[in-house]
Amino acid sequence: MSFFEIKKISCIRSNKLLFKNLNFKLNNKELLIIKGANGSGKTTLLKILSGLLKPISGSIIVNKKDMNLLKDEYFKYFEYIGHENAIKSALTVRENLNFYLKIKKDLTKKNFEKAIRIFNLKNLLDVKIENLSSGEKRRVSLSRLILSKSKIWFLDEPTNGLDKINTLNFFKILKQHLQLNGLAIIASHDEIKIKSKNINLSVN
């Protein structure tokens, strides 16, 4: 039995069928890359997996339990980094990370220094988000992954706006996460040089 499985997931948004009877299984140490053209439903699929949208049919099984039965427990299994960075522009980098450390129980302060080091945020800690570039904002958003204890990562275009060095840093932490029995599902247009399963969503 796989740790994470989706069965016959179908989704209609704005009267448009995005995907029908989608199935996949993912085990520990496995990476799934969702590919597809703009509007094919990559973000929608990730939002469904994160519980932010409801599919019209199908089920999501994690650790042998149905997502609907787990209710809020389900949220503890994953960390979701969406298309938006989900950071408050009037707050500093430190205040944003502290905000999430306070409200999200799956985040731990233990790895705060590590997150800052990996994403080169030391000099930006007390800078307001509104004064950062788009790449720097993405780094702040991705640093939550280091703080997270969650087993599954759902990531929507994680390398958007990142430079070469930080993209490589991201792949490094992704590999480490997978080696530590983690799972990841990523929607990306970029080439990710890590052994992975792939699904292609097509525009209907």
């Binding site: 989900a86 009037a90 707050l91």
Partner: protein
């Protein structure tokens, strides 16, 4: 409970940082009151008769403008999604956002209003009345506004119709708020108007978190 206070403290911190945005609604309120002598051409009697009503009406306008995008900005930035998947109940999120907008927008108005009455030489016994009636009435206005804002977010279409539908809910607060502010004695015996306002407040506090939470949940379906 700690999450509830964390959300409120963060919102207040942001509004203090965005001084221009948060101060503009208070300036709108103050400026509108201070130009009244010009509108009434210095006629003190008319001004005194209508001042309390105008304060209540401007309070309502200030609240409507402030709560309009109470949830929308956080939703568009992806922050509401993250708060939602952190497992905090949507009802708690709704209550925290409503309370923070009340602290940011209404507390200054509640404190300033008696001082404005003093400035216009209104009987001093009415100062306590307006202070207490605003203290009871403004949370009702904020929560109705927050429900509207949540409904607008929940239903993608027809936002202007939703705003119009909820508009009549504000009117009892205005009627009884103005009556309570103008009533004679409140310390010896609580007036009927105050009792009705308190009753309305209790109903809104009991019901609105569920409606607000339900409206936000529509966004996640």
């Amino acid at each position: 409970m700690s999450n509830f206070f964390n959300l409120i403290i963060t919102d207040i911190k942001i509004s203090l940082r965005k001084k221009n945005e948060s101060i503009i609604s208070i300036l709108f309120f103050l400026f509108s009151i201070l130009i009244l002598p010009l509108i009434f051409q210095g006629d003190q009697d008319i001004l005194k008769r209508f001042l309390i009503g105008i304060i209540w009406f401007l309070t309502l306008l200030t609240i409507i403008f402030s709560v309009e995008k109470l949830f929308e900005n956080d939703y568009e930035d992806g922050i509401l999604d993250q708060i939602y998947i952190s497992g905090i109940p949507l009802e708690t999120i709704f209550l925290a956002k409503s309370l923070s907008i009340w602290i940011i927008t209404c507390l200054p108005i509640i404190i300033l209003s008696p001082l404005l009455l003093l400035l216009f030489n209104i009987q001093t016994e009415k100062l306590a009345n307006i202070f207490i009636s605003l203290l009871i009435g403004t949370p009702i206005l904020c929560m109705i506004g927050a429900v509207t804002s949540a409904l607008v977010l929940g239903f993608n279409k027809g936002s202007s119709i939703i705003s119009l539908i909820t508009l009549p809910l504000y009117i009892p607060v205005l009627i009884f708020g103005i009556e309570a502010s103008n009533s004679e004695i409140i310390f010896n015996q609580i007036g009927q108007e105050f009792k009705i306002l308190i009753g309305y407040l209790l109903i809104v506090v009991a019901v609105s978190p569920w409606i607000g939470g339900l409206a936000l949940r529509l966004k996640y379906r």
